[in-house]
């Protein structure tokens, strides 16, 4: 019983895919799955190793379009063993053909095939990963779980979780037939870059095949990448400081904005702040402004009126700094500092800046 990790090296996101999949292999498998990953107690992180019994091993299958990328791609693989397949970019339907040709769907024995039964095929988060997993399951009679938050190998089936009901709930699922085709949730892309993951595995390239032959009429032509929208936009910001009316003055608002900049955070403001012209209108968070979803949001001197809380409620962690413990923001925050906002945020900026100088956590907003 073996597993394959699939990386799409025909696009620039491949390093992120590799990181996410490695994080998933480390943290996304329940205890019962540790074996599957070939991870031994002493060597968490040395993925793809063969257990003592010699039966569980993972390989990474890397698709590439350009020969020049090969070396770099091999280094990204989260397992020791790597196979390379040259293919057509942006055609998951054809990549699935390639996977089948390698024997991903059945016991394969020929040279250059995966060999043996592949139990689990793991693809990255995002559209391509989901398409690969789905199409592969359709063609092999296997089962597919997209956007997996975690998986766990049971005695006869694979169990996994993903969000359902439009993100209102998590669902538990059982995958009843093999191969289990699993694409991981995109949130793994954002996982911490764990220091325990060894980036420099020694890799073995087991095979390298070219599946680009047999010129087919392509359905997609004139592909043109459009510049992605700029990311200093509030909606995209991963760390935000938001000033509320409790800041009290234009001067204080400016100091909060400066502290934000020092910490590498984006800066937004509540409606009353903007209405007072203490901050420009494009900083407005909440109704008729921006709805944000930062990982970390520090709210300074805002009571947390519904108009504002709507704009920040999707934040991962909310810190409120506010002297009034009756304010609605108290209910909407993860951590609360009952104090003068400006004083605290300036102290905090100091601490973060000092930390950065020591080479510690240095956010790049």
């Amino acid at each position: 019983m073996r597993f394959v990790v699939v990386l799409d090296g025909t696009v620039t996101t491949v390093a992120r895919q590799a990181r996410a999949l490695a994080a998933f292999l480390r943290d996304g498998l329940g205890d019962a799955s540790v074996e599957l990953a070939g991870v031994t107690e002493g060597g968490r992180g040395e993925l793809g190793g063969v257990t003592e019994r010699g039966e569980l091993a993972g390989e990474t299958l890397v698709f590439y379009a350009d020969d020049g990328d090969k070396r770099r791609l091999v280094d990204l693989a989260p397992t020791r063993d790597v196979r390379l397949v040259k293919t057509t970019a942006r055609r998951p339907d054809l990549m699935v053909d390639d996977l089948l040709a390698l024997g991903a769907g059945a016991h394969s024995t020929g040279p250059g095939t995966l060999g043996g039964e592949i139990a689990l095929i793991l693809t990255a988060g995002g559209a391509t990963g989901a398409e690969l997993a789905t199409r592969l399951a359709c063609r092999t009679g296997g089962a597919v779980l997209t956007d997996a938050l975690s998986i766990e190998v049971g005695p006869r089936e694979l169990r996994g979780r993903r969000t359902v009901y439009s993100s209102h709930l998590r669902g538990r699922f059982a995958l009843t037939t093999r191969p289990w085709c699993v694409s991981i949730d995109a949130s793994w892309n954002d996982g911490p870059r764990s220091p325990s993951l060894k980036p420099a595995l020694e890799h073995y390239v087991l095979s390298d095949t070219d599946e680009t032959g047999g010129a087919q009429a392509t359905p997609f032509e004139d592909i043109e990448l459009v510049a992605a929208p700029s990311t200093d936009d509030l909606a995209e910001s991963r760390f935000l400081v938001v000033a509320g009316y409790g800041a009290g003055s234009r001067e204080a608002t400016k100091r909060i904005a400066q502290a934000a900049r020092r910490m590498g955070a984006g800066f937004g403001a509540s409606r009353p702040v903007v209405m007072n012209a203490w901050a420009p209108l494009d900083r407005l968070i909440g109704v008729s402004g921006t709805r944000t979803a930062p990982v970390l949001c520090i709210v300074v001197g805002a009571s947390g009126a519904p108009a504002l809380s709507w704009g920040i409620e999707r934040a991962g962690f909310i810190v409120a700094i506010n002297p009034d413990d009756h304010a609605p923001i108290v209910r909407d925050s993860d951590a609360l500092l009952l104090d003068d906002g400006v004083a605290v945020i300036e102290e905090l900026a100091e601490i973060v800046a000092a930390q950065r100088e020591q080479g510690g956590a240095a956010p790049t907003a």
Binding site: H168, R172, V295, L296, E347
Partner: protein, 302 residues
């Protein structure tokens, strides 16, 4: 797609250049449920029968994109014929009527229950919410056998199942490619479309030739236009077609048995925030405690 070059065979007058099938699902409006309603999920399921239906937002984009596609096509001398399909109970009929009033030429629903055993509880949840394989078979069979579609346009995912696999499964069944996270579609000629989509590596545009499944994502166009009372009156006699899955060669009960990713339970996602008060003697103390206890770790993930 396309009628070939110098074909001299008689072309039926009804022939259209581009047959577009738009599929949609009406889901309970999850936003209308309260925290307390979700809290019961772990114990059993969520009671969504009592909340109003809404169009799945991505499907709504798909339906409007199809209308715009047909309008642009008409300006370029290409006739696009629009069909709408929903695998759904009686509660999708108001939507089908709206689509007919807006100019969809065919509006069809396939009840989600096995023929004969149709238990269409008004407002009830479809029995196929967690059976994306069955839904995809119905859509593919309809596209192939009834609508002879050139293009299938639908939302990239829909609750409550949210598997996001239906478009890929339809493409698999039809042997077509699939473009996902589609945001715009513009017909260039009777066999070429310019499509904008958001790939994993960023937004891109490409020219599409030949049949394809277009899975619509966060399109700029997210709302379906509204027909006037006069539009409704004018097209009120057009029938809403109800087809049994069996007529499409799909055996719902048997197919359901073949689903291989089965839901086994639900968990609530606790979103309530703790509001832990960080104590300290001075602003500096508090900031330091906050940083040490929480922020240091979080900032590492930024």
């Amino acid at each position: 797609m396309g009628m070939g070059g110098l074909n001299t065979e008689a072309i039926p007058s009804q022939m259209s250049d581009l047959r577009v099938l738009a599929c949609f699902k009406a889901t309970p409006d999850f936003e209308a449920l309260r925290e307390a309603d979700w809290a019961t999920a772990a114990a059993g399921g969520v009671e969504t029968r009592y909340v109003r239906r809404v169009l799945n937002c991505f499907d709504e984009s798909a339906l409007e994109l199809a209308l715009r596609l047909s309008e642009t096509a008409a300006r370029r001398g290409v006739r696009a014929e629009l069909g709408a399909l929903s695998v759904g109970g009686r509660d999708v009929e108001p939507y089908l009527k709206t689509l007919v009033a807006l100019g969809y030429e065919r509006a069809t629903r396939v009840p989600p229950e096995a023929a004969g055993g149709e238990s269409e509880v008004a407002g009830g949840e479809s029995g196929l919410d967690f059976a994306p394989g069955v839904v995809a078979s119905i859509i593919a069979a309809y596209a192939q056998r009834v609508a002879h579609s050139d293009l299938v346009v639908l939302g990239w995912r829909s609750g409550p199942g949210d598997s996001g696999t239906v478009p890929f499964r339809v493409a698999e069944a039809l042997g077509w490619p699939c473009l996902t996270q589609v945001t715009e579609v513009e017909p260039l000629s009777d066999d070429r479309l310019r499509v904008a989509c958001v790939a994993d590596d960023g937004p891109l545009r490409l020219t599409l030739r030949g049949p394809c499944v277009l899975a619509v994502g966060n399109a700029v166009v997210s709302h379906l236009r509204v027909p006037t009372l006069k539009d409704r009156l004018a097209r009120r006699h057009r029938p809403i077609e109800v087809l049994a899955a069996a007529d499409l060669g799909v055996d719902i009960a048997a197919q359901r048995h073949r689903e291989t990713c089965l839901p086994t339970g639900f968990e609530t996602i606790d979103r309530s925030r703790r509001g832990v008060v960080i104590e300290g003697q001075s602003p500096h103390d508090k900031a330091q405690t906050l940083f040490d206890s929480r922020l240091r770790d979080i900032m590492e993930t930024l």
